[in-house]
């Protein structure tokens, strides 16, 4: 494999096949999320009353900040090849997932689930699919973290770049989901 040989510099998407592959994958994933978001929007009116009455905007906003912050820590981690910033990213991502889990637990205890009504169907599908992507991102981060700890020199720069690209994407999807689902209840 002859990726662009990097002498400490970051590879570019237009030259590196792994980064380009990840970028194309993300573009394709965007279409997937777009379809799910559009379904949510199409059914928004039917579920708006339930959403307003039951979604915990403030709490989720706090957990969302954790996820948004993790993009910043990831940028630092990539820039400096820092295991510590990577660990911070993982921790923030995990906090977000815990927050989402607690929101789920509360909604389910109130009788709102994917099968209860249209709101539950669209809410759990959209946020659940995003959650699964966060989880996948955490696995990638953990793999990078452990590889970096075992032998930092063997980790190619493109690995950092590729994982970061995917993590930023997961973050960006949440910006859309949070806007549509949570900020949407305020409108």
């Amino acid at each position: 494999m002859s990726d662009v040989l990097s002498l400490g510099r970051s590879p570019k998407i237009v030259q590196d096949r792994i980064l380009l592959g990840v970028a194309i994958f993300i573009a394709s994933e965007s279409v997937f999320f777009l379809a799910i978001v559009l379904a949510y929007v199409a059914y928004r009116d039917a579920g708006l009353a339930t959403a307003r009455a039951n979604l915990d905007f403030a709490r989720t906003a706090v957990f969302s900040v954790a996820l948004f912050a993790s993009s910043a820590t990831m940028a630092f981690a990539t820039g400096t090849r820092s295991g510590r910033w990577l660990a911070a990213t993982i921790a923030l991502g995990a906090i977000f997932l815990i927050g989402q889990g607690s929101e789920y637990a509360r909604l389910l205890s109130e009788g709102i689930g994917p099968g209860s009504a249209l709101f539950g169907t669209t809410f759990f599908t959209l946020t659940g699919l995003h959650g699964l992507h966060v989880l996948a991102g955490l696995v990638a981060l953990a793999a990078l973290f452990s590889a970096n700890r075992r032998r930092a020199a063997a980790v190619r720069p493109v690995a950092w770049e590729a994982v970061a690209l995917y993590w930023h994407f997961v973050d960006a999807v949440w910006v859309v989901v949070f806007t549509v689902v949570y900020i949407g209840t305020l409108l």
């Binding site: 096949r17 994958f25 379809a35 799910i36 379904a39 009504a117 699919l129």
Partner: protein, 541 residues
């Protein structure tokens, strides 16, 4: 697993089994093998359908079996036969055509193939698990909801298509990156063979279209398994959402299946006309136009669902527009032949057959963009006829052209031209006999997907002709099968360049070595091999 003996020229000691191979050529052959196997299965399913429909009010199979058979026939032919065949050729040929040693991600390539295959096996496992899906290949909700399809068939459909689709998406990423980043020196994107161009455009289509299908499948899964209401009108959902998502995938899927075949005949026609392709830029550019437009035509499958006058008018216009770049291609192929010295080999026969049949499918396609005509004939046998003229008369003829053209590169042996001619003419006759009468059947009122029809309708004779045509197609496919087996064992030795061709894959051995080329080639035009053979009349492009 036995080692890979053929398809890749590799010293005995270094051979790896089919299960572990990551060589793009071996994976290409695996894909083609998968496509051939499922094409045979899907063909037998079609014969069952045709046998039942040969006479009115027949009871050869019961309606439940018939409904499973046409559902699985559609899914099989589209996702498990045609797409793997095309991806297989792309896998084998793209690196060779652009002078690369392999694809960008060889191991991911193997993953793509195995996911595609496992998806197909999951779908077919449904037969053992209580019944195959019986809701049609586009599985309209709410018929596909648990309330109306309580068996597990649709669940296997969801899982099978999702896994198969994941493989196809990963494969598209791989091919796109390969084409964008791994071209040999001098191989500008404006010089790549048209098959490579079409593969790149097809990859983009896959990446934009398949995720919509995956999203629809996820929603159907939520509905069926978690009690969701996406497509459940009783719970506030809309049946029509499924159709929007499905056809946003489904219509680009048509071009995913047609463009690579167009790429194949764009290689075959110039070589056997002894001329460069006419209007390379227009052939390539029209593909981009088709790809772009194909994401804006999906609702022409939905003119009868009551979207509204304005929506129908818009989608009618976009659907008509897409005929323009398609027509451009046909004119360019014919112009390529004009002034040439045509060698009417089997490959060329199938390529010409592609044009002849695709014109019919294209014209009937335009008629379906005309809303009032569509409202009369949609969901009838007219549509069945139309889609088979595009996908069989078009795509499969293209694939056969490609098979006769590249078989010698893949195996080192030529397919028999004598059997090839029989194969072509039997296919041509059988195909037209099967599908031409279906235009009339649809126009006079025979809906698609009926397991039988009343004798009083008078549809019997044309149906019988159609079934006879299908039987001839069976004979044609048998001839092809015999040709494949015999030529593999004792076909004439091909040599590196049996067709006096133009592109890089013919500059290496047949079959090529693991690394494809002894040294990475450098090119200066669109026809590097022509240049090498005719230094006095080099291309300037």
């Amino acid at each position: 697993m036995t080692a890979v003996p053929l398809w890749v020229r590799r010293p005995a000691g270094e051979r790896v089994g089919w299960l572990r191979t990551v060589d793009h050529k071996a994976i290409g052959v695996l894909y083609i093998g998968m496509g051939v196997a499922f094409f045979a299965i899907g063909g037998l399913e079609a014969l069952l359908l045709r046998a039942q429909l040969a006479t009115p009010e027949a009871s050869l199979v019961d309606p439940e079996v018939f409904n499973q058979a046409f559902t699985v026939h559609g899914v099989t032919m589209i996702l498990l036969a045609v797409v793997p065949l095309l991806v297989g050729f792309a896998n084998y040929l793209v690196p060779l055509m652009i002078g690369a040693p392999d694809v960008a991600f060889p191991r991911l390539n193997a993953l793509s193939f195995w996911l595609s295959l496992v998806g197909g096996i999951v779908l077919y496992f449904s037969f053992l698990a209580g019944g195959a899906p019986n809701t049609g290949w586009f599985s309209y909700a709410p018929l596909s909801e648990r309330a109306f399809a309580p068996g597990t068939g649709v669940d296997y459909y969801i899982l099978g298509l999702a896994v198969n689709g994941a493989g196809t998406i990963i494969g598209a990423i791989n091919l796109a990156v390969t084409i964008l980043l791994m071209r040999c020196p001098g191989m500008a994107i404006s010089r790549v063979p048209l098959f490579v161009w079409m593969t790149l455009v097809t990859s983009v289509l896959i990446l934009g279209a398949y995720p919509a299908l995956t999203a629809a499948l996820v929603m159907l899964f939520v509905d069926r398994q978690l009690g969701g209401h996406f497509f459940d009108p009783a719970g506030g959902g809309q049946a029509i959402l499924w159709q929007h998502l499905f056809w946003f995938f489904g219509h680009p899927e048509v071009y995913i299946m047609v463009l690579p075949a167009m790429g194949m005949i764009s290689e075959v026609i110039p070589v056997f006309s002894r001329k460069p392709i006419f209007g390379y830029a227009f052939v390539a550019g029209s593909s981009v136009a088709i790809a772009f437009l194909s994401f804006g035509v999906w609702a022409h499958h939905m003119f009868a669902v009551g979207l509204g006058e304005t929506e129908n008018a818009i989608f009618s216009a976009t659907s008509m527009l897409i005929a323009i770049p398609t027509g451009v291609k046909i004119f360019n192929w014919i112009a390529t032949m004009i002034g040439g010295r045509l060698r009417m080999t089997t490959a060329m026969l199938f390529a010409v057959g592609f044009i002849a049949m695709f014109v019919i499918g294209g014209l009937s396609g335009v008629s379906l963009a005309v809303v009032p005509i569509d409202l009369a004939v949609t969901d009838s046998y007219y549509v069945v006829a139309h889609l088979h003229y595009v996908l069989f008369g078009g795509t499969m003829f293209g694939i056969f052209a490609g098979a006769y053209y590249w078989f010698p590169k893949m195996t080192g042996r030529l397919l028999s031209e004598t059997l090839g001619r029989w194969h072509f003419w039997a296919t041509f006759a059988g195909f037209n006999l099967t599908f031409l009468p279906q235009h009339w059947l649809g126009a006079v009122g025979m809906p698609r997907r009926v397991f039988t029809y009343a004798a009083s309708t008078g549809w019997g004779p044309l149906n019988l002709i159609s079934t006879i045509g299908a039987a001839i197609l069976l004979v044609a496919m048998f001839i092809f099968f015999v040709n494949l087996v015999r030529s593999l064992r004792s076909g004439a030795i091909a040599g590196d360049d049996p067709w006096d061709a133009f592109t890089l894959e013919w500059s290496t051995t047949s079959p090529p070595p693991p690394e494809n080329f002894a040294s990475i080639p450098a090119v200066k035009s669109r026809r590097p091999l022509w240049d090498r053979k005719h230094p006095e009349a080099r291309d300037t492009g």
